[in-house]
Symmetry: C2
Subunit: 160 residues, 2 copies
């Protein structure tokens, strides 16, 4: 089956679109008498006149290969997704191309990775591939629509 | 073995100390063409001159029964813990009693529950009981110590 191949999510590959939050590496603070490592302030939260809030999203599982029918973006704020079940999910993003998504890139995110979409970044809707489909979301709470959608004429098939 | 019995975490029982974030119930917004439920803005984030940030905490597992040697509080901001492994953790809190913790209450939190400690609430350090010990933490990023600790003369034994 031909289609867009989802590759493992890395901070470097995702950098044009936002932050990957993950533990590991040598940069942390030891807290609680050495019993806990704090990986500090990993997401660039960026809101306009709104404020940060924490919501829970409970989404239907999807299976691979997966058809993306639309992408969306939030012009008024960044949006951070934290998986709560330790399970894999699909992340698809695109640069803006004159008000619609340009070429799509797809990643498989591990269950110990959170992602923070930069304000205004085109991304697929929440697409858990396993587990409970439960995520904590840190995004903008405020007035205004803060949502643009783009429906593809032909769905984008993601494989891999 | 005698000791303080940890009971299942509920929003009602935790209300004096902060918020329990959990899905379920009838109050949600359907998004993504009905494929996702948004349980909206569940945590009272409360910071002074700082700002909200997202960090990851990776903590050692503990076993029950569990001895609490200390509690801590953050006078400059609320602190929200989101479990990333879907696994149970211990939550212990206390009212303030003249600058130190009063009587301790202990809860067993499910892996699909997040908690948000109200600013200044005495609480035990992060105590995962199973799973990877990985949590996302939404708390205050800013200057200042923002930490008070109280060490118990005799550790508090939590059972149950």
């Amino acid at each position: 089956m031909s289609g867009l191949v989802a590759t493992p999510l890395t901070a470097a590959a995702f950098a044009p679109y936002g932050d990957v939050l993950e533990a590991g590496g040598e940069v942390f603070r030891e807290i609680n008498q050495g019993r806990c490592r704090r990986y500090h302030d990993l997401a660039t939260l960026d809101f306009d006149d709104g404020r940060a809030g924490v919501s829970l999203f409970h989404a239907e599982l999807r299976a691979m290969p997966c058809e993306l029918e639309l992408m969306e973006r939030h012009p008024q704020g960044s949006q951070c997704f934290v998986p709560m079940g330790g399970s894999e999910y699909l992340v698809a993003v695109a640069p803006d191309d004159g008000g619609k998504p340009g070429p799509v890139t797809a990643f498989r995110a591990r269950g110990d990775q959170a992602v923070n979409y930069r304000r205004g970044t085109w991304h697929a809707v929440l697409t858990p591939l396993a587990g409970p489909g439960l995520f904590a979301v840190i995004d903008r709470i405020g007035e205004g629509a803060n949502l643009e959608e783009h429906w593809f004429d032909v769905p984008v098939l993601v494989v891999g």
